[in-house]
Subunit: 266 residues, 2 copies
């Protein structure tokens, strides 16, 4: 975040790497969409409206596929969020590929929401459902079912802007609800108590534990003072406590050693 | 360029790719330096002062080498230009590597210099000497001699800011003097007549033709109204003419077919 001429500029930069963040055989248009959505989601979590993006992209990044598909997907995503491509750099390259996007946004509310503002007593909320991208990835791999949640994630841009004046802390959930909630708890110096049954999931009930640990859904996780109702549809899933000896209590218990709260990349 | 909070924000994004923009065996600290210098040079050519950078970087990008060296070089370069690292993204990856940097600058003069403003009658100037990076690369490859011009190029930041109020057009020379002069001529709709003997070179006289076509020197190429002296040391190398049937006349002649004006990458 940068103060600039009396306004707050919010800057994000996210990269996608082949084999890490996307499958080598994926449609380049979907890869482009995801690159835009992940960055716009970062802006959303700060309540910022996008003003433009810069792209760093390797030409010919997938053998036998067309750069034109990447540019089509990029164009679709930029239109969906109404944000212009301001510039960037296109280079030659080969091998496993990486591409990056910088998104520039204008804060719509001061102070700009961060992940460090949650206070003991606050309520913990989340938009939408978790686990949708997990189901979508499985559909993509199996070739049957709806893979759109994985291929074309939606950044919660309008929700982030609507929530910014209300929240005490906010972030987008990219690496799994539990892992990202732990990060917010650590940044805020509190402990979250999460009621796992309260978390809305996009999966069958039997897969609830996985859904809480899977990422790529880009929902907004935020805290509000106790008793405040959110400006957009969301679900109350827990509360912030004075800091305990762990950042997270799930149904009253610490995660056990070996129980991963999420994944850094998949 | 972006209007923001009443100021003109100048944004650049440059990528470096292993094997294209740097040698696989190069010191990662030098790669980091070059990544910063190329972006700061873009700001310099717009007369903008840097306010921050965002980095996109793959961890472990060179087998057997230390990411710490990259971060050392990054820190050295950011200190040299007095610019903070605002954020970015670090990802896992393997294979030939790419990294990108976004630099954000504040325009110090309006209108912001561009490559499209040269007028017939203007004089064409360049800072410094060309061919220094070519000599530096050869020194690096041979293991003897001074390779610093290639490894640690200097962005002409203070010069760009001093020149911004004077110039009719300005750009940095990254891909070779002749090629970049052609680009400025095309963007401005004029033809440049360049006196090759007037161009300051960092090489022996026998290699003048190569020095005019080699890149990576990051000198500033700019036009001034005829009779105006530049605010910083520079050399008058030619003039802008009403558009002819070629963007560039070198010693009165068009480049012959097959005579490349420069290289896009090396």
């Amino acid at each position: 975040m940068l103060e600039f001429g009396g306004e707050a500029l919010v800057l994000t930069h996210d990269m996608l790497v082949e084999g890490v963040h996307f499958l080598p055989e994926q449609d380049p248009a979907d890869v482009a969409w995801k690159l835009v959505a992940t960055n716009i989601s970062d802006l959303a979590s700060k309540g910022a409206e996008p003003v433009g993006v810069l792209l760093g992209y390797m030409l010919g990044y997938m053998l036998g596929k067309d750069d034109a598909r990447f540019l089509e997907g990029l164009s679709e995503a930029l239109n969906a969020y109404n944000v212009p491509l301001l510039g960037g750099d296109t280079v030659g390259g080969s091998g496993p590929q990486a591409m990056g996007l910088t998104a520039i946004g204008r804060a719509t509310h001061r102070p700009v929401p961060s992940r460090s503002g949650a206070k003991a007593g606050d309520a913990l909320w989340i938009t939408g459902k978790v686990g949708a991208a997990m189901v979508g990835l499985e559909a993509l791999r199996s070739g049957s079912g709806d893979s759109s949640a994985y291929r074309r994630p939606q950044a919660r841009l309008s929700e982030g802007i609507a929530l910014a004046p209300q929240v005490t802390a906010m972030m987008d959930v990219s690496d799994g609800l539990l892992l990202d909630a732990m990060r917010m708890a650590d940044a805020s110096g509190i402990t979250f108590a999460i009621d796992s049954a309260a978390v809305p999931i996009a999966t069958p009930e039997a897969r609830r534990a996985e859904a809480l640990r899977w990422g790529d859904d880009y929902e907004l996780l935020f805290t509000l003072p106790y008793g405040t109702a959110p400006a957009v549809p969301a679900t109350l899933i827990g509360q912030a406590l004075a800091r305990q000896n762990a950042p997270l209590l799930l149904d009253g218990k610490r995660l056990e050693a070996g129980d991963s709260p999420g994944f850094l990349h998949r």
